[in-house]
């Protein structure tokens, strides 16, 4: 791995760092907001048995899921707009995995809207809602895991790859090396975190005393425990096998701080859970996405897609490395779009983000409180 080169201008570097943080915030917005409705989708077959219970789960996310999902689109667009080479490498490199996420998101979106209008196909839409929620909930974590650990990238010196028409920075690890143990652990971490969020949300929205509420409370408690266990395993694996391969990453101190946030969030959420305070336990459990995104950002910085430091090393033993992979990592400085582009994007964000927050206040206020019987009738 080469030394970290900056863009050459302090202003440009500052903008690159700002956009690294902004994208982290966008992904966090996605994790917190769409996290609970992805989780609700994964829990859907288990938490709702009867038709009216299913309607209740769908109604709990019905007016909100679409706006929540826009956080992902904004995050993707922002990655393209701020760090185009990283967007190109990750989306083309993880092609089949991205397609699975995409197909999941497509069917999930349509299923949420069509399930009520299309009683003939209701089993199909129920299945589509579950699978469409499960695939992204699982694969997001895997993508994060691969990025943290580093992947096989074509370097300026990879003559054979370049001669074959590949570009510098292209991913050449193949599909199956994405399924390495660390990435799989991250995938499970993400899935469990989404499910816990979903259970906490359903516990907050379902009428007290309803069976959906009771089941949601049970799942919330169960997955809260699993969440801690997975986090401990993941942390151990990370410290033992992944961290030693790191080179030139400057934010690790913050990763430990965010690990503390995780533990804090977990304890607070658990306390409120035990008290039966659904609102506070949901709010507190949002510290966990904050912690996970914080740890991810801190362990990546200043990389976006690190090149595997040692393709034959422990973490990457699933790689079948070509001998000439001598890539430099894709960092926020090497991938940053031009200063003018980042400045324009910053201005657009300064206009847009406050508006987005206002919209969210409006809609979450409008649909506050638990779902009532008549909400389902009207639906």
């Amino acid at each position: 791995m080469g030394a970290i080169l900056t863009t050459g201008s302090a202003m440009h570097d500052g903008l690159a760092i700002l956009w690294f943080l902004l994208i982290a915030v966008l992904i966090l917005g996605y994790f917190i907001l769409d996290g609970f409705d992805l989780g609700a989708g994964v829990l859907y077959p288990f938490v709702a048995k009867k038709d009216n219970e299913k309607a209740l789960v769908r109604r709990a996310i019905g007016p909100l899921w679409d706006g929540n999902e826009v956080w992902l689109l904004t995050g993707g667009g922002a990655l393209f707009a701020a760090f185009a080479p990283a967007y190109a490498t990750s989306f083309s490199g993880f092609y089949l995995a991205i397609m699975l996420v995409l197909f999941g998101l497509i069917f999930r979106a349509v299923a949420v809207e069509y399930r009520d209008r299309d009683t003939k196909w209701k089993k199909f839409w129920d299945g589509a809602f579950f699978i469409g929620s499960f695939l992204p909930a699982l694969l997001f974590g895997a993508a994060v895991g691969n990025c943290i650990a580093g992947v096989a990238l074509v370097g300026a010196g990879s003559t054979a790859h370049l001669a074959a028409g590949l570009a510098v920075g292209d991913y050449v690890g193949g599909f199956f090396s994405l399924l390495n143990p660390f990435a799989l652990l991250c995938a499970i971490m993400g899935l469990v975190a989404f499910i816990t969020q979903g259970a906490a949300w359903l516990a907050l929205k379902a009428p007290v005393g309803s069976e959906v509420h009771q089941r949601a409370v049970k799942f919330r408690s169960l997955f809260n425990i699993i969440e801690l266990v997975v986090f401990v395993l993941l942390s151990a694996f990370f410290l033992l096998f992944v961290l030693p391969t790191f080179d030139g990453r400057s934010g690790m101190l913050f990763a430990y701080v965010f690990a503390g946030v995780f533990i804090l969030g977990w304890i607070v959420a658990r306390l409120f859970m035990n008290k039966g305070n659904d609102l506070m336990s949901f709010l507190a459990s949002n510290l966990i996405p904050i912690a996970l995104i914080g740890i991810t950002a801190a362990s990546l910085f200043p990389n976006l897609i690190p090149a595997a430091a040692n393709p034959e090393g422990v973490v990457t033993y699933f790689f079948l490395p070509g001998q000439d992979i001598v890539a430099d990592s894709i960092t926020i400085f090497s991938a940053a779009n031009s200063q003018l582009c980042l400045t324009a994007m910053t201005i657009i964000t300064c206009i847009g983000l406050p508006l987005v927050l206002v919209y969210h206040v409006i809609i979450y206020r409008t649909f506050r409180g638990r779902i009532k019987e008549e909400d389902l009738v009207e639906y």
Partner: protein, 493 residues
Amino acid sequence: MELLFGGCGVFAALDAVLLARIQFALCVIFHFLFVPLSIGLGLFVALAETRYYKTKDPKDRARTMFWAKIFTTTFVIGVATGITMEFSFGTNWANYSRYVGDIFGAPLAAEALLSFFLESVFLGIVLFARDKIAPKLYLVSAWLVWFGSALSALWILIANSWMQTPAGYQDLGTKAEITDFWGAALNPSTVARYLHTVDSVIILASFCVMAIGAYYLLRKRNLDDGARFIKTGLTIGIITVILMLPFAHMQATVVAEQQPAKLAAMEGQWEDGPADMMLFGWVNEETQTTTGLGIPGFTSFLASFDTSTVYPGLNTTANAVDFSSGKYSGVKADSYKGGNPPVNITFQAYHLMVALYALLIIWLIIAGITLKGINKAKKPSKLALYLMIFGPLIPFLCIQAGWMVAEIGRQPWVVYNLLETAKGVSPVVSAPELLITIVLFVLFYLILFIAWLRIVLGQIKKGPQVDGKAEAPKVIEIEDAAVPAVAASEGGE
């Protein structure tokens, strides 16, 4: 992917560039069946709600909800297939993304941030919060949904127009870097293409609204809904079809000035000279001849108000051209690196679009006569109603044909005169991977299309429903005989 398919010789013959293009074409055509309808219908939702806000007539309320439901059923497919489009630049066109990221990414991000949030959040309110918020806020929400969708069209057309007529950048070889934000955003074709596109989607929706109205009249049910839909659709349809003349003219002028190879292909013009306007014809690309009937010099006249303005023919644009000599006074671009699109497809698509536009006018006349008859309490002609029911096929086809002209006509470039399409693909995505995903897209999109069709037809059959539920205002009986009176008061919107 070599690991998976490295040994499969069958796949080696497949051309990854061609497959990537087929996949993009399939996905974007499917996406753009639903998006125009939802953007156009969004206007009708807002108009219907504006009317209900004034009249407080439960029938108007029922109509708002009727359109909102059809809108949502369509909108969600647009959203779902739109994710494909946002991802596809990175997944299938990685080198393109690397080249244009400095310019192309910003409008995509801005579209999500400034438009998608607006549409999706306020659509949630329109669908679920009728009785939770004040009527005025509800009305504002309905308009914000439409405003959001019209704004999203602006952002994506800024991005697409930059690919057609790039401006405000410097070419660094491996990437285009932005040098002038407004120059890039308001590049020579943005405004014309935005007006052309948004007008076309409203035409499409107005034909759909009229078609549904005609269906009710034919079935002799929801008669006042039917009359109202025809009247509203016709009013908006007439306005937008007339507006299309200046908008289409603006866009054609931009093509003539900026994309001479596309103009030459649209008219099948091989030699330099004044551009004719062909009425119909056939291009033989092997013998490089175009046979057909045309008005000499008329395209030159439309583009430059002079029938003698010389435009380069395809034989010229096949190679590099320098326009600075002044020989081609209508061309504003400095130079062209050379390369022609597939000529006959571009030619036919363009003439199909123009012919379909003529059909739109005929259909408006049919609808006008039908409405006049209804207003005089005459029985509408069955044939006219049937024609109107199938009327939406015309703008649907017209829009697709227009986009084929735009996108095929700029080949072999993905970014006009800068980056060739073949150089934009993802080097690491193999032909087999593309083939697998094409098959899956076709399968999945077919399922979505069937579901959409079933649900929309069901919603139309059900019609606007005034039901006497507890939370609904009291039902006011309106006799069917009152149709003309109700219909006549629509025009003010």
